[in-house]
């Protein structure tokens, strides 16, 4: 441990000389650029440059990874993705998997964000009361947030498998066992359920912080007037915590639109295409398929980026107001 500290001190002293040299050359605050440089360089290489390359890929065809060897095709990739006889029926689309992904994602976002907001709100309100062992309960609801999505997927796969504990419970109460993950509707239900299970603790925490920011006097005054609980919620709690509800709503939307990891482990996108979402389409088209179609994957990425941009704008506007 001591050795490690000494090594660390030695390493941290190394930049001393070059930095002193730079300090002598750069007047005023311009040394700031030197401190910002490493961070900016990483952003440039792994965030800004990729956005530019994303456009290049989206506008070029073929299966070559090297940008220089990809023929320019204009909007063909977008046209391929968006080409449908009937956009409401993915089976009539040229890239039916993409449209299955789009519609599944929309359906998923609707259910997941709505239900998660409801449960997070309920849990936050309950946790904001005088509760025995409040810290324990708060920790328990938060714990799954920390788990790796792969772990989350496997935990539930183990519970939901044909000879799993849930089916044992079903038989215990006299019901027939169900192939939870092999039935399209049930697999979708469990995708929503598991993602809420894994993430609601995070949103509960934000909402709880919003609730605790409500001045105690207001609640006490309402208690003095013997305000019924429902009216208390309608007239006091809800309006005062609306800003944090909006934050949670938009954050939840941004995350739900990009849902992939735990559902991929849990269902693999199946059965069929029942739980295939947009990000899985991008991953599959760009990396998992035999023929890697980078152009289509990049085009789909940019469409997704457009959605995220709109959501982030809404979030920024909401934050400025809040």
């Amino acid at each position: 441990m001591k050795l490690l500290a000494a090594l660390f001190a030695f390493l941290m002293n190394l930049p001393e000389r070059p930095m002193r040299w730079a300090q002598g050359r750069l007047a005023g605050g311009r040394l700031g650029w030197v401190f910002v440089a490493p961070n900016l360089a990483v952003f440039a290489v792994f965030t800004f440059l990729p956005i530019a390359i994303d456009f290049h890929y989206a506008l070029s065809g073929g299966t070559n990874l090297l940008p220089a060897e990809r023929p320019f095709v204009g909007g063909e990739n977008f046209a391929t993705l968006l080409d449908c006889v009937d956009h409401f029926d993915p089976n009539t689309c040229r890239r039916d998997l993409f449209w299955h992904g789009v519609w599944n994602t929309m359906r998923f976002v609707g259910f997941q964000v709505g239900l998660m907001l409801g449960f997070s709100l309920l849990t936050a309100i309950v946790l904001n009361r005088k509760i025995i062992g409040r810290g324990f309960f708060r920790a328990m609801f938060f714990y799954p947030v920390l788990l790796s999505p792969v772990v989350v997927g496997l935990i539930w796969k183990w519970i939901l498998q044909r000879e799993g504990v849930l089916n044992a419970g079903m038989m215990g109460v006299g019901a027939a066992p169900v192939n939870w993950l092999l039935d399209a509707n049930w697999a979708f239900f469990w995708s929503v359920f598991v993602s809420i299970w894994a993430h609601m603790g995070f949103y509960t925490l934000i909402l709880l912080a919003g609730l605790q920011a409500i001045p105690a006097e207001i609640n006490e005054a309402a208690a003095m007037d013997a305000t019924p609980p429902w009216r208390h919620f309608r007239r006091i709690t809800w309006p005062l915590m609306l800003p944090s509800v909006l934050v949670v709503l938009v954050l939840g939307l941004i995350r739900a639109v990009q849902m992939f990891d735990e559902i991929y482990v849990l269902t693999g996108g199946g059965p069929g295409t029942a739980t295939t979402f947009i990000v899985q389409y991008i991953y599959k088209t760009g990396f998992a398929d035999q023929v890697r179609q980078y152009g289509l994957a990049a085009a789909a990425s940019l469409l997704l980026a457009g959605v995220l941009l709109v959501l982030t704008m809404i979030q920024l506007r909401g934050m400025r107001r809040g």
Binding site: F43, M140, V165
Partner: protein, 346 residues
Amino acid sequence: MVRFLTRTRGHAAWDWTDWAAHLYLVLGVLVMFGPVLWLGMSSLKSESGIQAFPPTFLPYEQVSVDVEGRGKLKLYRVTAGEFAGRELGEVRRMGLQVQLVDPAAPATLIRVAVGDREPVMHLRAAWDNFTGLFSQFPFFRYLWNSVFITAVATVLTLLVNSMAAFALSKYRFAGRDPVFLLMLATLMIPPTIVLVPNYLIASQLGLTNSPWGVIWPAVATPTGVFLLRQYMLTLPDELIEAARMDNASEWRIYWRIVLPLSAPALAVLAIFSVMWRWNEFLWPMVVLSRSESFTLPLALNAFQGELTTQWNYLLAMTVVTLLPVTVIFAFLQKHITQGIASAGVK
């Protein structure tokens, strides 16, 4: 007892909403933590215990006995017939009958109908699920990859982000605010939408199948810069001025004064970074394709496809993967929840 438990300061009794609230929370704990507990218990079961249906909560296993001249035999209790009540080892099954022997008198074979015996079970934690990970799989490799990536990426993240935050909070230079906004703008570009180009860049830089391919893209985080900058803004400038008077170099001011004073914010970012890197899945899956470079989540995902029958190892590996995060959470629960509530990020 109930009276004692429900006694709260200032209030005489519970009304129905208190009961409903506590009932909700207890049910909630069952749903939120029950699955993890179930996973933990299952990971201690032997292969046969895992296949048992309906499953038991505790890890039961059938007792085996060493019988002279016959090796290890599974122990059964006879439930009916003239030998009812005796515990015998099973030699072989012949159609609807089984041949059993008394471990004390291994010479005489006893015949019993298949339905007239039940296995003798005892509680035994199958720790060999865990030791088997090391002996039967390159598990140490995955563990090391995960630890290496998490540790190195976290140290670099703290260093690079705090340097940027230092400049953005303590210097005035043309372009400072645009740089800060530019960094915040990267929040809008999650890794999912730059998957393809980042793969190109990583492969051009020779980073595929290397832990550095996961580390480098991760060391600059908008969240970290933002968190540290906001904290450093609260540090008094007089401290820095005083150090400059003493002719300390700017680098020394950064790492001897500002960095130690920012310890609380650094700790929050360190916890975030450990969680991010330890749990990361999609980008590593893209950039690490050879199994010797796999991290734990990648190994788990690969195994669940391959050996669906070897749930006992898969469950043990899952437990090992969630254990570090769980231990960190158990000790730093308050800091983590406060950090997240204040930063509004995960």
